[in-house]
Symmetry: none
Subunit: 401 residues, 2 copies
């Protein structure tokens, strides 16, 4: 009996509403010994109110010590064991731009880069070109013919694009061609098994043609590819939880993750206020709302402690507008920690608060790592957040007589 089957067996529809707010990279660290984290430094009266009336804890995204990317981080929050469900970057990028990936497809993330006359990379992001240029270069590459394989080239933004290779017997166990270093040439693609060798052959052909085509288009005169991935087999939120689920996110990656598990992707606007307006408009149509807030992560990645504090305070200011919708369960958490001190994702457990009528209170009074450490949810694996949400929403029946 696995967790998803248990959910299918026990779920009940009572019309209740669950809102999951993911503040990306929410968890942090103090800059100095004895100091406070970003979340503890921020003035968050509205989040504190939820903590006082709710129950808090620390979410362990994958396992102790494991730092997740956005994919595993979010899959865990949606109730999928991130070690069982592994989603390649190519698939995530393709989903994020609304590309309908199919069973004969291998998707991969592409970057425009700059190479010198010797073919060595001098800028891994080609000076971050304008998105219009990215679109034009992708159109140019769309003319490339690969024997026996269709190649779709889709712009994302700036230096980023997606290629989907469609054909029979294409595997995805192929190395990245991005060497992640300067002054070296892009790598040759090599497939591990027979099907992946088919893919590698098509990929190397594609790259060689692209190199010729873009030769005079510096700084966007070369490409690298990484994250070859086939479409994974994964159940939907509707199938597992019986929830009509909607995603209100701004960035492609998170839309892609939500689409993967069957959420409807709503046109969310560009700001938190617009995202919440979208929530309001579709409130009656859905049972579950995934609201993604990016900027707690990006400021953390930039090492901008004060900026992250501000972004948390901005989120806090919008919380009353979410509460005004009167959800039955409101969760605020992150997909992982991104301490400004580290300028990167980290393994540290993520502050989490769950508000609902039937919580058992835990005496916590502020939203922060220290209170969450002593919270009533304890330290829990992220994959159990959805069963906790379903229980508190009154959507789970009793297991066994």
């Amino acid at each position: 009996m696995n967790l998803h089957q248990l959910m299918r067996d026990l779920r009940e529809d009572n019309g209740s509403k669950i809102v999951l707010v993911v503040a990306d990279g929410l968890g942090g660290l103090p800059l100095e010994f004895g100091g406070k984290t970003e979340l503890e430094t921020a003035n968050t009266p509205n989040l504190n109110a939820i903590v006082r009336e709710g129950v808090c804890g620390l979410s362990v995204p994958v396992l102790p010590g494991i730092t997740p990317g956005s994919g595993p981080g979010h899959l865990g929050l949606f109730g999928f064991d991130p070690l069982e469900y592994r989603i390649g970057r190519g698939i995530l990028e393709a989903l994020g731009i609304n590309f309908q990936v199919g069973p004969r497809d291998v998707a991969v993330r592409g970057n425009f880069c700059t190479v010198n006359d010797a073919g060595l990379i001098t800028d891994r992001r080609a000076g971050r070109p304008a998105t219009e240029r990215c679109v034009a270069m992708c159109q140019k590459m769309q003319t490339i013919k690969v024997p026996g394989v269709e190649a779709f080239v889709e712009p994302v933004r700036e230096h980023r694009f997606v290629v989907v290779f469609r054909g029979d017997n294409l595997g995805d166990d192929v190395n990245d061609t991005d060497p992640q270093a300067l002054n070296v040439a892009p790598l040759h693609a090599v497939g591990v098994d027979a099907n992946s060798q088919n893919t590698a052959k098509a990929v190397n052909h594609f790259i060689a043609e692209a190199a010729k085509l873009l030769k005079a288009d510096g700084p966007t005169n070369m490409i690298t590819l990484r994250g070859f991935a086939r479409y994974p087999k994964i159940s939907t939120m509707q199938d597992i939880y019986g929830l009509r689920a909607a995603c209100v996110a701004v960035y492609p990656m998170y839309k892609g993750l939500a689409r993967l598990v069957g959420m409807d992707i709503l046109d969310a606007g560009a700001t938190l206020a617009e995202q919440i307006d979208t929530l309001k408009k579709v409130w009656d149509k859905y049972d579950f709302f995934f609201l993604h807030y990016k900027y707690t992560d990006s400021t953390g990645e930039d090492g901008n402690f004060g900026g992250k504090v501000e972004k948390i305070e901005h989120l806090d200011a919008e919380v009353p507008h979410i509460r005004a919708l009167n959800p039955d369960v409101l969760i605020v958490t992150g997909d992982h920690s991104t301490p400004s001190k580290m300028k990167s994702h980290s393994w540290h457990p993520v502050p989490t608060v769950l508000w609902a009528k039937m919580v058992r209170p835990d005496g916590a009074v502020e939203f922060g790592e220290s209170f969450c450490l002593r919270g009533g949810l304890g330290q829990f694996e992220a994959k159990y957040l959805m069963s906790l949400a379903m229980a508190h929403a009154g959507r789970l029946g009793k297991y066994g007589a």
Copy 2:
């Protein structure tokens, strides 16, 4: 290496005694924000003394968010993963009335109900008849002949009885005939696979005969059946832990659960004082004593906060009599929470205290959800309670050299 095999490999017999007191549905919730739970409200000087000298924590019966029935709740406490061992209601009821279920049997729980002239249910419990009437009606149904199958009809109490269908190739994947609603007719039994279709055929024959037989016996003029179940494969406490185990329970369901894992079922009387007297009488004959106390659950189910507080205080008053027996390990816990506020079982972790000489103290001073949240056992899966009990009883050797 699973947990049970580990126990078999490491166990040692040192003559120590373990008492497991299960206060059914022990965990609760405050009625109002800022209030105390039932257990925190109760005046429990004797339980508090155990907490001060012992170690406490919160037991998670199945998984976060999962509300267990009595079966999974108790199996967890006995050290069985409740997701691996699933016990049908029919088996539990049959075991609880001392019926010796065998490998050719399918057992099911029956209810007398009242139907009107149109055959629609007007009372799902037939007005809760006296047990004597239940006995008489079961004797009447015992005359029913089912072709190729033996049917044993055994009274439980009030409107409740058990039917055991004995024959070859009888499966238990059969739906409940209880529609769990009024003004509808009892459902027809349908088997999912071939063997279960054999069972369904026998069941429908039995029900049709019962309907004729009881026609004039209103309000007990019809029956519903639910929880068809074959006898599960499960190891005994003796086999896993090397413990001579005894059950001192009043209600059939809990005797049934204990018999299932090989405990001897003792004649316990009807009160806690009588149960403890029984314990005293057989103290030398057993190593492990399961004492079940029902009323913390039934008051919770009734939404009777004050009543639950009283029942907890009643338990507390008897604790010194258990301690007087000088057990090596004394555990007080519950199989799940039953908050009066919810009038039902719930998923909230269950307050637990373990007293033994070699505990590491945790500073807790009162038995309650808040202290248990910060207790030395942390939040732990119920299935680990027995290995903790064995360890503190000095009954587990070292794992590995």
